[in-house]
Symmetry: C2
Subunit: 252 residues, 2 copies
């Protein structure tokens, strides 16, 4: 992933919720500059039952939250893209109840507990935004529940692609109608509760209806409206529309 992260990306994400002042932005830059590390695809950033020491912020690449159940079945519960936080829960929950694994080469900032605590204490608007981020993550998780429970394979994949496209656009990683898409069909299968074979067939169906172009790790959505339509996608659960306006108050 060549998209090097400069702290600006994280600010961009959080300002989807609230307006950040210059000092807020400085604080975020502090966070994302902290101890940058790198892992290769297929390595884990965090393993189940471990107790993470700090908070990890994705800078580039893709990762997934996943669990493997006894007989080897894997379920991906979330995708993590640049700007996402892996484990803010470190302050409260003792052990991880799932793993986080790199799907591509990943770089991330490994932020010390104290740094996060300092920033959250000193910059209330940043603290609010981090909380918002956490709540949106939960909301996404609920939407995945619907996706898996009540949508067909065709709808499920269309829906997931809608979501990922908007999330990537939110951090400036979608360019017009296209975005990077390093997921393999096996990854998509494990996220949508399908088999890899069926994902393959479903993608072909989506392609044949000109809803997507998916080739060489790039996704093109020629008509987002149409894709949204067949997916039954409603973006309200992403809470993207500057909901923190009421906090802007004495800004500028």
């Amino acid at each position: 992933m060549d998209n090097l992260f400069d702290g600006e990306l994280f600010a961009r994400k959080l300002s989807q919720f609230t307006r950040l002042g210059p000092t807020d932005r400085q604080a975020l830059t502090m966070l994302s500059g902290d101890r940058v590390r790198r892992v290769r695809a297929r390595d884990d950033l965090i393993r189940e039952n471990e107790r993470p020491t700090g908070v990890k912020l994705m800078l580039s690449g893709w990762a997934s939250r996943y669990k493997i159940i006894e007989d080897g079945r894997r379920q991906i519960m979330a995708f993590l893209v640049p700007g996402d936080i892996c484990d803010l829960n470190v302050f409260i929950l003792r052990d991880m109840d799932h793993s986080v694994g790199a799907l591509t080469t990943v770089t991330f900032a490994d932020i010390a507990r104290e740094t996060i605590e300092f920033v959250m204490d000193e910059f209330p608007r940043v603290a609010q935004a981090l909380l918002w981020d956490q709540l949106v993550a939960h909301s996404i998780q609920r939407e995945w529940t619907i996706n898996l429970g009540r949508r067909s394979a065709f709808e499920r994949i269309a829906h997931l692609l809608c979501e990922l496209f908007l999330r990537l656009r939110g951090v400036g990683l979608a360019d017009g109608q296209s975005c990077g898409m390093p997921l393999t069909q096996a990854d998509l299968a494990d996220a949508t509760g399908l088999s890899a074979v069926h994902v393959n067939r479903t993608l072909q169906e989506l392609r044949s209806q000109n809803l997507i172009v998916l080739r060489g790790r790039e996704l093109v959505v020629p008509d987002f409206e149409a894709l949204q339509q067949v997916a039954g996608f409603n973006r309200n659960y992403l809470h993207l529309d500057r909901e923190g306006r009421h906090l802007d108050a004495n800004d500028v």
Copy 2:
């Protein structure tokens, strides 16, 4: 539901995480005494797209978070039992992205924003516990993702019953091997992503293997170990084991 709630139940739930002092408990009693209201089964406590005014705390009865998608399919994303909070997100997110509906007659405390804010400011341990509660809810949501994505109907229902049993026990609503279970087969279907007919058949299978006794709104689990086994259930995601020990510090 005859189980009248006295504020003690909520404290009981939160003390699964951290030890609460006498003043903490008083604060919780203040919360659950606030404006008690009641709704009948099938009525909504909160509707999608509304902006809730306060925070709702379940006192008795069962409710569900759900969404209905265009063609009428319903998905239940969570069950709410006494001690659960419906909408703590009210401080951050503007609109509800889903509805909360009563499955039985429900009584709840309708807590004013200011009251919650006051309690969270003055009683940091309570604030921690509320945050823990929120994170556990998210963790449960992830587990539901796995349930729907990678488990068979048989495992799914067994797993859900394991979870509900432990959650009810956590608030003192399970008695030895049994607990109340007012869910209809249609409710179970909408929570597990199955059809009501298939839920019926699956329950019969669970019964015939002596894993459960389900009759007259009561669930008996004669051998929890065995049920856990067939479900592939691991309770770690409920984070029940006094994880807040490290916060006990200067207590007693």
